[in-house]
């Protein structure tokens, strides 16, 4: 034993003489991270990404990114002799003739769905707790970019097998590129190497999917994690937790165990799903032929909102200039709207920072109710997105519910304008209600359900004070002051500089924080506690007194 320790010590010293391994480990292995289940959502995405890299390597060994037409003579009889691209033939080969190929393909695809879903759930957590605030704006932008890039990567991935379903998706994307005014057609020809479908697209997409994009994603993942280390992890409010400390457990051994274990859980669940549930049965779709299509052609879920947007725009919105048609009905939903949505998404931390005028660092998370306008904007965005996703599946919903999809499309056209604002108002009111309840809890405690009748006939309900933990959580609320608009002119009649901008900011500030329920001041809490105490004493006094004096009182 001592020999092993000695040898290990020697090895470490040898390593340390060349690189500062020990000091790095010492400094970082004991780094403290706070504990909460919602801090593990990003990990799901990270682990799915690792699974994608591992299974992806296996698939590249067998996949042939080629659009050369070959007749199929593999073991899937229903396609025997059918001409198809080498890409599709090799994907069939992976599915039916490579050992474990179908399982690996299904793990890869399910992991891709997990990757996108986990990134989005993780983003919800970051958004609703305000974890994107200074100093973490850059990490928010990196995360949002990864969602956007992940979306492209997913599209490229499921298009590679060149099956009938994904070929239809590629055709739609070619159409969207063509819809760009002036340069669209040139760009489409440039990307596809000529007319659609051509023979260049799959090989190009392959390089994009297995080399370029994973490289970018890997770099961004690394940067994302380094920034988490550098900024330290945010924490939820609670007793002893402040903006300048981190309360939790060390990375080693607690989080290495938890995170390592969680990796195996994610991997296990993905493999379990991939073993029992089919995903993307390319053999059933058949090879892509431009004149074929299947009913219910759908993209993977993360592209669904784009499809929903395309399906919602009424046909015929076009302009003809000098014999050239500009298809706004494709360009706007296909490129402009996603561009606007992602710009808003990536820019949100800066928008909110401008409204609050806040330059402080925030390491303590917000409770969603304490930022009602932000929370309401988030729910509004989710509602908007959700309606689009539903409309993307309008034909499947129509088939399952027998509601004509024309109705669903019209529901979307109207609902996309009506429901998000309703969701906004409802969420905001809900948050403000929760704030009032918090204030009430702090000042008066919790209703105990015990009703007392006092000797003189009065009924009172006993309130029990809330615990110190609850108090600390409620008191973590930061009252953001509403920025007031400056007067138009000062006392000398000089026009205030930048009046318009400052007024606009005041308006937004009031929109964000104007209705917030003020956290009770220390004096108010003191007064409330005093009052409760007094009342309680009074009750007890009256009760004991009453006990003695019952006959006297009765005779009164």
């Amino acid at each position: 034993m001592s020999l092993i320790v000695k040898e290990a010590g020697k090895a470490i010293s040898r390593a340390d003489e060349r690189a500062p391994i020990s000091s790095l480990a010492k400094a970082n292995l004991r780094k403290i991270f706070p504990d909460h289940w919602s801090f593990m959502l990003g990990e799901i995405a990270l682990y799915s990404f690792i699974i994608l890299l591992l299974t992806g390597v296996y698939l590249t060994i067998w996949f042939k990114p080629s659009m050369i037409e070959v007749p199929y003579h593999g073991s899937y009889a229903p396609l025997d002799g059918i001409p198809m691209s080498e890409a599709y033939a090799s994907a069939l080969n992976i599915s039916f003739d490579v050992r474990g190929g179908l399982l690996i393909r299904q793990i890869h695809h399910w992991a891709a769905l997990f990757f996108m879903a986990a990134m989005i759930v993780h983003m919800f957590r970051i958004f609703f707790t305000g974890a994107f605030r200074k100093p973490r704006e850059l990490n928010w932008v990196i995360g949002g970019s990864m969602i956007m890039i992940g979306l492209l990567e997913g599209f490229a991935g499921y298009s590679l097998p060149d099956d009938l379903l994904s070929g239809v998706g590629v055709r739609i994307v070619a159409g969207i590129i063509e819809s760009i005014p002036v340069v669209g057609t040139y760009l489409m020809f440039f990307i596809f190497g000529g007319q659609f479908p051509g023979s260049d697209f799959i090989p190009r997409l392959y390089t994009f999917h297995v080399l370029l994009v994973p490289g970018i994603l890997l770099a961004l993942v690394g940067l994302h994690l380094v920034l988490i280390f550098y900024h330290k992890h945010t924490q939820y409010p609670g007793p002893g937790r402040t903006n300048t400390n981190v309360v939790g457990y060390p990375l080693f051994p607690v989080y290495t165990a938890k995170a390592g274990g969680f990796f195996f859980v994610v991997f296990g669940v993905t493999v379990l799903i991939a073993s029992i549930v089919t995903i993307n049965p390319i053999w059933a779709y058949g090879p892509y032929v431009p004149d074929q299509v299947t009913a219910g052609s759908q993209p993977d879920w993360y592209i669904g909102f784009l499809d929903g947007m395309l399906r919602a725009i009424p046909p015929g919105w076009e302009t003809v200039i000098w014999g050239h048609t500009i298809s706004w009905n494709i360009f706007v939903p296909g490129l402009v709207m996603p561009g606007v949505l992602f710009t808003l998404l990536l820019g949100y931390p800066f928008i909110e920072a401008w409204v609050t005028g806040d330059t402080r660092e925030h390491h303590l998370l917000d409770r969603p109710r304490n930022a009602p306008t932000r929370t309401a904007l988030g729910v509004m965005a989710i509602t908007f997105y959700g309606i689009l996703v539903l409309n993307g599946a309008n034909d499947i919903i129509a088939q399952m519910t027998s509601i004509p999809f024309n109705y669903i499309t019209w529901f979307t056209r109207v609902g996309i304008v009506v429901f998000p604002p309703l969701a906004f108002v409802a969420t905001r009111r809900f948050c403000l209600g929760l704030q009032r309840r918090d204030r009430d809890l702090l000042l008066h405690g919790r209703e105990s359900g015990q009703v007392l009748r006092l000797p003189h006939g009065e009924f009172i309900e006993i309130h029990t004070p809330i615990s110190d933990t609850e108090k600390a959580v409620i008191l973590s609320k930061v009252d953001v002051p509403v920025i007031e608009a400056p007067p138009a002119t000062d006392e000398n009649g000089v026009v205030t500089p930048g009046l318009k901008g400052r007024r606009r900011r005041a308006k937004w500030s009031r929109f964000y924080f104007g209705d917030n329920v003020a956290k009770p001041s220390a004096a108010e809490i003191e007064a409330a506690a005093h009052h409760a105490h007094e009342e309680h004493d009074h009750e007890v006094e009256e009760l004991t007194e009453g006990g003695k004096d019952i006959p006297a009182r009765l005779t009164d």
């Binding site: 039916f96 938890k258 089919t278 219910g296 879920w301 024309n406």
Partner: protein, 261 residues
């Protein structure tokens, strides 16, 4: 000679066998003859019986002489195949006006359907009910059937034959319950919103290939990847990942993240 001795005669077995063979052969020939004949050689009684049934059950919408009214199309020249398809699948008679007649329990017995078909066929020439040999798929090519299915059928009935939505509440029905005869009749006559594929454009052998693809590969689909989630494509996969998938991992995260004291 007693009856027992007749039964015990050496030649009796042979004679009975011969008689049975002859009877089967003649009977089979008679059946196939009547089915293959176009227009079918239906008896006058069948036509009369069919006319009676038509006047009772169909004339309200299709008109007293099957000439068609505002509520239903004319049936002169639609052929026996059309009647057989619509009535044996229960689509006709219609229970209530709707964008499309749904498949339901048939309202007429097979004899009544034959009579109705005979009557409608007597009004004008049209596609006949396909015979059993027309429906034979033993020589058909499965892969060719798949190719034809993806070119002609999948755009409405979906790649797996699960059906699909059309505009304004119309739909292409699922093919999971369709019999080979119904499939060929539908292709010949183009019921409801379906275009028709007469033998001149889609020869019978190709129809047989399609039927083979549907019966062998879609109705009895192997599921090498596991549960097919209804074969509706990525939408059900997305629903699955957001419910069972993310749900399971959230539970695991809550479990791991739970405070242990």
């Amino acid at each position: 000679m007693t009856s027992t001795s007749v039964r015990r005669h050496r030649a009796t077995g042979l004679v009975v066998l011969l008689a049975a063979l002859v009877a089967t052969g003649v009977g089979y020939a008679a059946v196939t003859d009547s089915a293959q004949a176009a227009p079918p050689q239906a008896s006058e009684t069948q036509v009369q019986q069919g006319r009676q049934l038509f006047l009772e059950g169909c004339a309200t919408c299709h008109g007293l002489a099957a000439q068609g009214t505002d509520s239903g199309p004319g049936l002169i020249g639609v052929g026996a195949a059309s009647v057989d398809f619509q009535v044996t699948t229960g689509r006709m008679p219609l229970s209530a006006p709707a964008v499309q007649a749904p498949r339901k329990t048939p309202q007429y017995t097979p004899e009544q359907v034959t009579a109705l078909a005979a009557y409608v066929a007597s009004l004008g020439a049209g596609p006949a009910i396909p015979s059993d040999s027309d429906l034979s798929t033993t020589d058909a090519n499965l892969a060719e059937g798949g190719e034809l299915f993806r070119t002609n059928c999948a755009q409405c009935h979906n790649f797996a034959g699960k059906g699909g939505a059309l505009s304004d509440g119309k739909y292409a029905p699922t093919l999971m319950n369709a019999t080979p005869r119904e499939m060929v009749e539908a292709m010949l006559t183009g019921p409801q919103n379906m275009p028709n594929f007469p033998n001149a454009t889609l020869p019978l052998e190709k129809k047989q290939a399609i039927v083979k693809y549907i019966t062998d590969n879609l109705q009895n689909a192997a599921a090498p990847g596991g549960l097919a989630l209804g074969s509706y494509g990525p939408v059900t996969e997305g629903v699955f990942i957001w419910t069972a998938g993310i749900g399971a991992l959230l539970l695991a995260a809550v479990w791991i993240g739970a405070k242990v004291r």
